[in-house]
């Protein structure tokens, strides 16, 4: 616990040092912060007990160097009796001695430090994407209003929505990559971690605002869903993204709940995320079926209402069976037009290439059901399609071959001698 407190104070000092760069700089303040951080790092080094502690100190030392190298000249003159480089070298030497005392292997430190650097980089990217996404959400709302008056805005709106969809997806991936990197540093299950290690994870999760980022991500995805300009493809992609997010959350949610065992507030946060995810799931579900109904209606297909995968499969295949059997005895012309409309506006554009794979992927229908639908569509096609021109060509070719064979046979026949 003591080393944790020390680490927190180091981080605070490093943070304060970065704040210094924002305000008017007092040289004394820079020197003081450097000296205090070095002192805190020295104390943390002496108090280090695990490989994780050593890795954390290594990362903090790197941050210290990054932060203070621009002030090297000032520090060289101001530090006494050592200069800047010697202070850093002494600090590193102290840590090496401690690592050696603890029997820590250098490669472990390197790996953990790399992961920590990765976490930091990901964290920065998430912050930047969150900012961009907020701007894009605002922009899409503004454009939606404008698009109802000015159709020229529609293209801009579509571009914004496409960009937003990409960004939301990218940020979701980054958040989970960040959490993975955090847990990977410990090389063990949460259940096997001791309290100090759990506190270490909690500290890192807090520092990177992981729970807030996850909540923000779900909230942005929900806002995105409320956009009225989403196409069938957008919904298919949202459905896919939601499913991925949910399965990734299942993977880390239990781990987070385990490390937050002693924090009621954070346990509540995890529960809030579960609830938000359930809302997202319900909205995605609702949006998915609404979008599918709209797609089918666009293709002139009226089927019984459906609200889940099974109902969709049953009602859609019932419709296909009816088309194949033609119980109303509709003329070929009407049936042909209906199929052609369905084929060009629904089947080849959205349903077959996009929707069916997504529905299978997300477990809403089975692969067998997808296959069955495809077979029935093919059967519908066959039931109304006139004989294909390919058959005519084949027949013509066969006839030509036969005729040539006959003519050759006739030519070869010896003329009767007179």
């Amino acid at each position: 616990m003591k080393s944790l407190r020390t680490m927190s104070s180091i981080l605070l000092l490093v943070f304060m040092a970065s704040v210094l760069s924002l305000a008017q700089k007092s040289d004394r303040a820079i020197v003081d912060k450097f000296e205090q951080t070095v002192k805190a790092l020295s104390q943390a080094t002496d108090a280090a007990k695990t490989v994780q502690d050593c890795a954390d100190i290594t990362a903090s030392m790197k941050e210290l160097e990054t932060e203070f190298t621009p002030y090297k000249d000032l520090l060289d003159k101001s530090l006494y009796p050592d200069d800047y480089s010697k202070t850093i070298t002494n600090l590193k030497g102290r840590l090496l001695v401690r690592q050696s005392d603890l029997g820590v292997i250098e490669s472990q430190i390197v790996r953990i430090t790399e992961l920590e650097a990765q976490v930091k980089e990901l964290s920065g990217k998430i912050d930047s994407l969150s900012q961009t996404n907020s701007q894009l959400l605002g922009e899409s709302k503004r454009l939606e209003k404008a698009a109802t008056i000015d159709k020229a805005m529609v293209d801009s709106l579509n571009a914004v929505i496409a960009q937003l969809r990409q960004n939301l997806k990218a940020r979701d991936q980054l958040i989970f990559a960040l959490v993975d990197s955090l847990f990977q540093q410990y090389d063990k299950n949460v259940a096997a971690m001791n309290d100090v290690e759990k506190q270490g994870v909690v500290g890192k999760l807090e520092r990177r605002n992981v729970l807030t980022s996850i909540k923000k991500s779900i909230s942005d995805n929900l806002q995105f869903l409320e956009s009225t300009s989403l196409t069938a493809k957008d919904y298919a992609e949202i459905e896919r993204q939601h499913n991925k997010f949910e399965s990734q959350w299942k993977g880390i949610g239990s781990k987070l709940a385990a490390v937050y065992l002693n924090s009621k507030q954070k346990k509540n946060d995890v529960a809030v995320i579960d609830t938000m995810l359930a809302t997202w799931s319900a909205k995605v579900n609702e949006g998915t079926w609404k979008s599918l109904v709209a797609l089918l209606e666009k293709g002139g297909i009226a089927i019984k209402p459906f609200a889940n995968g099974e109902e969709f499969y049953q009602n859609f295949t019932a419709f296909l069976d009816e088309q194949i059997k033609n119980p109303k005895d509709e003329s070929k012309d009407i049936r042909s037009k209906r199929f052609s409309n369905f084929n060009t506006t629904v089947w080849t554009t959205d349903l077959d290439p996009t929707w069916l794979p997504v529905l299978v992927e997300t477990g809403k229908i089975t692969a067998d059901q997808k296959l069955d639908i495809e077979k029935k569509v093919e059967a519908w096609h066959s039931s109304i399609a006139p004989m294909s021109w390919i058959y005519y060509v084949i027949i013509a070719l066969v006839l030509i071959v036969i005729l040539r064979a006959i003519s050759k046979f006739v030519q070869k026949k010896p003329k009767p001698t007179v």
Binding site: A23, Q24, S26, D27, R28
Partner: protein
Amino acid sequence: MKLIYWLCSAMFVFMLIGCNTLTLRPAEFSWPVEIVLKPDAKGNVQETRYHISFNVKALLFDAVQDSINVTKYSLRVIRDQDGFYFITAKGFKDVYIFADCEGALKLEKKLLINEKGLDAPAFNQKTAFIQLINEKNDEEPPILLSKNGIQGGEKK
């Protein structure tokens, strides 16, 4: 007689040379960063790196009319390249410039900076000048000082 005359002349020349002050140039007295000193109950401040100590009661009385509660003040002190000491503190209206003389610091100049008193003053060393900043207010432009007065920036 002539010899005595030449000997006296030579002695006079040697005396003249001997009386001329020996000056070492160039000399650099600047401190890289300011020091922050807190007076003890008697008003004494001491800095270990530069081995300097002096009493600030008279200064505090002049600046804030308080020579009793001296321990509550933090004095910002820096020395410029010519060896003058610049001293101020939170609540001071002025920056005091001192020169050292026999066992004392002698006031050279008092520069009025802010009628209402300084908020969070700090000195930085800027080669030929001493820069005075307000650590709590980014919008306040820094002021450049020398022993001759304010060289740049504005009075508040």
